[in-house]
Each structure stands twice: as C-alpha cells, then as structure tokens.
Subunit: 570 residues, 2 copies
Amino acid sequence: MTYSAPVLDMLFVLRAVIGDDALKSLKRDDLAELLEPVLQEAGNLAEGVLAPLNHSGDKETAKWNDGDVKTAKGWKEAYAAYRQGGWNGVPFSTDFGGQGLPWVLAFPVQEMWQAANMAFGLCPLLNQGAVEAIYHHGTDEQKQTYLPKLVSGEWTGTMNLTEPQAGSDLAAITAKAERAGSGYKVFGQKIFITYGEHDLADNIIHLVLARLPDAPAGVKGISLFIVPKFLADGSRNDVKCVSVEHKLGIHASPTCTMQFGDKGGATAFLVGKEHEGIKYMFTMMNNARLSVGLQGVAIAERATQKAMAYAADRVQGGKPIIEHADVKRMLLTMQAYTQAGRMLAYEAAFAMDSGDKPKVELLTPIVKAWCTDRSVDVASLGVQIHGGMGFIEETGAAQYYRDARILPIYEGTNGIQAADLVHRKILKDGGAAMKNWMDGQKELLHELDTSHGGDMSMISETVHEAFDSLKGATGSILAMGKNEDLESVSAVSHAYISLAGNVMAGMALAKAALRARNMLRDGNTTDFSPEFLKKKIMLARFFGDHILPHTSGLARTVRVGGASVLQGSL
Amino acid sequence: MTYSAPVLDMLFVLRAVIGDDALKSLKRDDLAELLEPVLQEAGNLAEGVLAPLNHSGDKETAKWNDGDVKTAKGWKEAYAAYRQGGWNGVPFSTDFGGQGLPWVLAFPVQEMWQAANMAFGLCPLLNQGAVEAIYHHGTDEQKQTYLPKLVSGEWTGTMNLTEPQAGSDLAAITAKAERAGSGYKVFGQKIFITYGEHDLADNIIHLVLARLPDAPAGVKGISLFIVPKFLADGSRNDVKCVSVEHKLGIHASPTCTMQFGDKGGATAFLVGKEHEGIKYMFTMMNNARLSVGLQGVAIAERATQKAMAYAADRVQGGKPIIEHADVKRMLLTMQAYTQAGRMLAYEAAFAMDSGDKPKVELLTPIVKAWCTDRSVDVASLGVQIHGGMGFIEETGAAQYYRDARILPIYEGTNGIQAADLVHRKILKDGGAAMKNWMDGQKELLHELDTSHGGDMSMISETVHEAFDSLKGATGSILAMGKNEDLESVSAVSHAYISLAGNVMAGMALAKAALRARNMLRDGNTTDFSPEFLKKKIMLARFFGDHILPHTSGLARTVRVGGASVLQGSL
C-alpha cells in the first residue's frame, strides 16, 4: 500500500510538455528552480506521512459522537505536519501568508495529497474553495479575519450547498437567512458537508448558501454567508453536526449533516451582496471541479502503482502476470488514462496561471468528467489485475474502487459537466472557445504530420482522425443548437464530452510523444532517460490504437443519437 | 430495496425471441404451460423471501467463529423455504429427485435468486457445479450417496480449486492426495471457497482438486476428490474452515479458507480416474461460467430497477430526473445491457438444452465476460443516477456496485474468458463455430433488410455494420493465427470479446425488435401490450445508435492493436 510520488512524470509534464518556455511566460523567476525541490518535499510528506494512513483511516473511519467528530488515528498528527510544512498555503496569496505559487505547481503538489490519501486531501480541497470565495468576494475585514488562518490551515473551510431536496438543483435551496441587527442569522439543514465537523483545526469556517425572506425565487435569490463554528469572542455558534454518513468510500473523510440555527439562529456574515451568492459559489465550485478532476488523476495513479507492483510480483503460468499480454494491455490503459488526465489537469492549471479564462472554462467540465470517469475505470482495472485478491479489502485495491466512485458525482455530477460543456461552453459562444482550442493544436498536428518513423506515423494517423471526429461532432452540436433542438444536444452530451476528453487526452499523449522523440533525436537525455522517453512514445501509440478508435463511434452517436434517447420510453 | 421479478420480460425472451416453436423442439410437452406459473412462483419467493435479506445480509455479513460460520439473520429460514419449494432441483435429473426442467427455464429462475440476493444465490450456484460433476463423472454409488441430498438441497456442494499461488493457473496446484487403503486422503489449503462452511445445510460436500504423489506435473496430474464435511458414519471429516475473507461485496456469502488433513488426512473419494480431475472440473466450471454471466444479468436488472424507481421519484429542476435527457440515456443504457445480456444467457441455455455443444462453447466466454463487464457498468450507472445518495450505503445502490465487481473475476477472470474465446474457440476450429453462428444470423439480417419504417431501418443499418465489423475482426484473428502471432491475438483478445459481445447483444435486441414489430403488425398484442412491444423496438434503436458505433473502433483495435501492447513497455 505504498505510494511513490511520480516526481519524474510530473516534471516531464511541466518541463517538456507544457514546456520550460511556457513556464517562463508566467514571469516568476524562481519557478524553474522551485519545481523539483517543491515536488520532492511534497512527495516526502505524501509518501511518509499521508499514504500510510490511507488504509487504516478507511478501516477506522471518522466517528461521530454527540456533535463532535473524531478523525482516525494519526490524522491529527498528519494534519499538523502538513500545516507546519506550509503546504496549505501553496497556491494562496502571499498577502495572507500563502506561498503564492502558480497553479501549475500547486496542482502536482495537490495531486500527491489526493493520491496518498484522498480522504485526507479533501479537507484542504474544500478549504481552498472557502479561501477563494473570501479572497475574491469578501470585505477587507473578512479577509483579515479569516484568510490568514484558513491559508495557514489553523482553521479549515467548508462549502454548504446541498440540501435533501436540492442536489444538482441549487434553485431549490430552502435554508433561511434573516437580517439581524447589522448582521444575519442562518437557519436550516445542509447535507453531504465534507469535513463539516472534525478535530483537526481550532475553528471551522462554513460558507453557507441560504435565502433571505424577500429573496426572488430560484438561484437569483440565494445569498452566501460565512458561518464560523466559533465566533470572534470564542463562543460556540449555533451550528451543529447532527450525523455523519456511512459511505461507500472515503470513509475517513467525515460527510456531515449540519444543522444551523436550532438555538435561535447561527450568526452569519454576508459575503458580497445579498442574492448574489450563487455567483460567488461558482467561484469556489469551478476551482473545486478542476481539483476533483485532479483527484481522479491522483487515485488513478495510486491504483496503477499498486496494480503494477502486484503484476510484477504475481507469477502465473511460469511468468509474472505483467508479461501476460492482456494484463499488460490493462496496465497500459491505466497508465495512459492517468498520464493523459494529468496533462489535461495541469494544462488547465497553466491556463489559470496565464489568465486564459475561456480555455479554463472550456477545460473545466472536460477535466472534471473525463478524469473522474477514467479514474473509476482505472480503479476497476486495478481490482481486476489483482484477481480474487482484488476483492479482498485487506489488499487495498478495492478501496480505490470505492473511493473513486464519488468523483463522478460530487462538485456537479458528470452529467452536469456534460450539460455545462455542450450548452454553456459550446453553444453559448457558437463554438468559439473550442475552435480556439483546436486552432491551438494546429502546430502540434503539423509537427505530427512531418514526423517520420513507424510509431510517430501511427500516432499521427490516429490523432488526426480523432481530431476530425471532434471537429465533426462539434459541428453536429452547433447544428442542433441552430435548430434549437436543445434536448437532442442534452441527449448526446455524454457522448460529446467523452469524445472531447478522449481527443484531448490523445493529443496530450501525442504531444508528450513528440517532445520525447525530439529529446531522443537531439540526445537531450540528461533529465529524462532514453528508456523513459521511449515509453512516452509507445504510450501515445497504445492510446491511438486502443482508445482513439472509439472517437468515430462517439461522433456518430453525437450526430444521430439524440432521437433514440428522446423518443425512447423507459 | 424491493425487487420485482421481471416475469413479462423473461416470457418475452422465451416465447417471442427464442420463440414458442423453438421451445417445442425440446420435446417437453408441458413446457409451454409451465413457463408462466414457474416464473410467477419463483418470483414470489425471490421478491418475498430472498430480496428483503439482501441489504441486511450485506450489513451483518457471514460470521466465522472457531471453524463454524454463522449466516446472517433470516438466512436459514430463507434457505429452508427455498429448499422446501423444490427450487434447488429445478434443472437436475428426475432420477435423483430433481425437476428435470430445461436450462432455458432454469436460467430465468436462477436469475431471480441472483437478482434478489446474489450472496444467497451463490450457494445453489456452487452446488449446481458439484451436482454436475458427480452426475457426469461419479460412480453409481457416489451418485446414490450424494445426488439425492445435493439435489434436494439438504446438503450443499462446493468447488475447491484455488490455492494462494494458484489462481488462474491450476497447473500450480499443490494440495496433496495420498492413496489410503481402498480410498484416499487429502491434505492442503484451499482459498476463496464460496460457502465452504455455513449453517444452512446438514452436510457440505467439497469437490477438491489435489495431486497424487506419482502424478505428472502440470494440469494433467490433478485429480478430483469428493471430501464430505461429515462422513457416512456421522463423524466429522478432517476439514476445517480456518477463516473467512473480509470482502468488497457479497458480504453475506462466506468466502472460506479451507484446511484439509491437519489431523491425519481428510477422507476423500476419487471422482472418475486419477489425474483426470481437471477435465471433470471444467464440466463444473463451464456450467458455472454461464451462471456467473447470468449473475451479471441479474444484478444489472436489480440495479436498473432501483435506478428507475429513484429517477421517477427524484425531482430536480421542476421535473423527475427520469425526464432529464442524460439520465434517460443512462437508464436506456442500463436496460439495453440488461435485456441484451438476458437474451444471450438464455440463448446459451437453450443451446445447452438443444445439445448444440459448439454453440454453447462459443457463447460461454462471451456470456461470462460481456454480461459481467456490463453488470459493473450498469451498477456504476446505478450509483451515478442516485447522485450523492448513491454513495451512501443505506441507499443500497452501492451494494450492487460492490457485489457486481466479483463477477468479472471469479470462475475464470474475463481475461481468461477472452483468451479462451480467441485461442480455443476461434483459432482452434479455424473460426468454424463463429462462422456457424454468423450463418445462423443470415435470416435475421435478411428480415432486417426488408423491414420498412424509420426505426427498423436505422436498426438494420447499425446492426449490419456491426456484423461486418465482427466478420472483419474474426478474419483479423484468423490471419494472426495463421502467422502464428499468438501473442498479438492475446493482446487484442479483450477488444475482440468486447466486440463479439456488443454485436451479439445488438443482434439479440434487433431480433427482439423484429419480433415486436411483427406482433404489432399482426395485432398480436394479447400477451404483450403495444406499449411494451414499442419499447423493445426503441431499445434496439438506442443500442444501435449509442453502443454499436463502437464496434468499428474495436475491430480496428483487433486489426492493429497487438503491436502497441507487445512493443510497449511499462
């Protein structure tokens, strides 16, 4: 159950695929020097402190007792080590004690926490959303009050959106807010609140969506409030964890039902303006969506490492099963999904750093949905490679299969992501952002065209075809949009987002292969060995031969598949 | 968490798809009359007795205590009801007290047990293998001693194959047998023994693979023994359950580590001839493989029912989510996989009844692998449709996701099934059995060709293309075989079996659609309503538009994908 931080793979994505020159464009002079030591140090903590608690935390689970939640054994010490190392502040502004590192470096670091121990990593992930919301929308006083401690990790933050009747549909939120003197009171119940209560930090800052009495109906009547567990005078606020869920996975992460205002109202502080909470919440959510995609990459990496180790060790038919062709096929699939997902997630992080908002918005649903759907596939393959042992909980492969299953659900189900992609990201701008992304690939496609050599030619062929499928499918979506056949667009949204993810993944792997090929050609093999580089080429070819052929079928479904959903009856 | 036995769907497959005329060819005059009452009665037991114990059994689990295993609350009573109803003997010979019903009726009945409660249904499933082995290979005395009680269910049977170092690789078995007087003694440890110990029955008859001292190495030196828990004189045999596994799913089904011969040797009775046990074991295993495929259908049915109920009830955005296009897309996928899998499994059962051995052999790996892979997909979609609630164990959807995950693993992993298909079923006979199956589809294809009307034409088009993909891919496999490139064949075996399963599923759904269309055309709607029949047409069209387009990609992978696996390095 060990985890080995894939520092070399991460560095390859950063330095060779995104590229040193691109990183320089971020105008952060020390970045190039920082990459390796930061990743090494983070890796040490992930490997040495967080990973060993992953399985034990799963078995022990977080325990509720009369409103308190006790995390599993070793959790408090691990969180203290994480906090004391300054890791909580990695991506946050130096104005509030953060490290101010770009997302493109913060993402690999975050990937390590999630891979080592996803149930642990969720606490900082949610906190990150709270920091973003207050940083972008809070008053100066709110920033001074909350950010230094949320950035240091002394306090943690939560996101309180969901109610029993309001999951994907935030318009249905009924939690109430009232004006009270110069402030507000909040009342109501929120469910599925990750780390809503725990014993890791001195205070918990809840960001809560609620509705004022005179609010308009629907999402435009929701306000966002800060509701601290402990108020400034040290008194306990009127908020309580009334239960924790018994879940399929991430057992060590407490998923809380939070009750606000049973004793007269929870003291609350408005963020931004009344009724505009949904907008602020999306600041948190979009950020969190990319991070959830990254969790997918992380758990896929962990499952792959475990399966690799088992397959190298387990002998059947006179040889380790890693040498059996079909097992190798499964492992290559796992590696390809993991590495491609990593590139997509880091590419989105780099787009955030570069201020390329349309690209971030385009990539967000794809990274969230594709990386998390693939993480379930990878975790399932991981179980499969272990055979009967995979089904035994002590082995550990089953935990990844259980843990990963939440990822396509939370922070907007992957169905919501698909809808977001086709309706808001493709139709709304007439396909401009996608066209822009495609135009940005022309150089790569040209480079592939002119690559010689067997593997590169095969990669070029499959990537070109896949690219054309995406072009065609985007055209189909736009045509349906023009005909105002929006229900058909929804009906094929899953096929479209799967297609887009596959194509982007294939192109990312092809880019990695091309960079590797160039480095081999130029004898530039000090940082990355020839063996390492050759694997990148072969992985792109594998993806081209085994995954990309599905894109033409997906494009066909996008083109013709609407009617059979809409006219079908269940 | 209710289960509603899908009697109408089952009857449609039996009477309309396989067809009344085909059933008549089995020359069992009362069969037509038996179908409905038998299915109704089985449905009553499944719905009323077995289904209510599924979730409670999962929570409580089977418990080990000093060699004994206690099943969950209500289990003993349920087993007694099952046994007293005569259900255990459904497919077995009337010579030993069975009902002697054909497999084509026994399968729907078995599907119900597995859907209602898979952890329960495993006990009869394993028993069935033991009955088959003794019936086909035992001496008359062995038959008289064991079969009446194994058929009635007074005793249960087990299959003892796996050892820690010998999972898929039976050649590595090291359990020892010794000749002792006129009989044998057995020594060694077996793992993963389903219902190896329990409190449901008076005796447990273990079928055990072990190696005699002078046995040749490899699979040709393995003998099969009967090792009863209690001997004829009532004394306890030298076999003990030393632990049960803590598993991802099927918690209520005890998975035992069995220790044989620690006190001087377990008294054992040879089945058939020395050293020929592997052959007999395959009698049990092939039968069990089809039943495991059927378990896939069963759990898919259960997961689909649950998701349908939730989606009809859950309102988001002002309407039940069942009306959201992407949710409908997921539900149609679940229905299509479930219903197509059912048809494939029953078709194999009918082939058993008809004595069409080549067809049974061809279908066995496909039914096992395709139906179980799809069951994991379906269970995963079931979780997804429930959103956050799906991740909560109390909801129940997660149990199907956990339970289903064993199906692609046990009774020969799906990788083994894929290898079996390409090497033993395609290459060994030069593709004859597959060609034969394809020739058998010509009539259907012709009927589809000449069908008019929008949906049927669309179905015809997609099915024809898929059929051609399978033809092409089979040609690719045979060509690789001719070149003795067997490693490439293994490398693309997964793509080939997925393709074959998709095509067969698509053709089965198309056949169902055609029968439904004919019944509608002929006004033959007494047994099946027009609404029911129209759904069958639309489901085939959905599968054609959303799943079959993948077949061309899979065929391409079969054609070109070998090299990128074999030359890739991990």
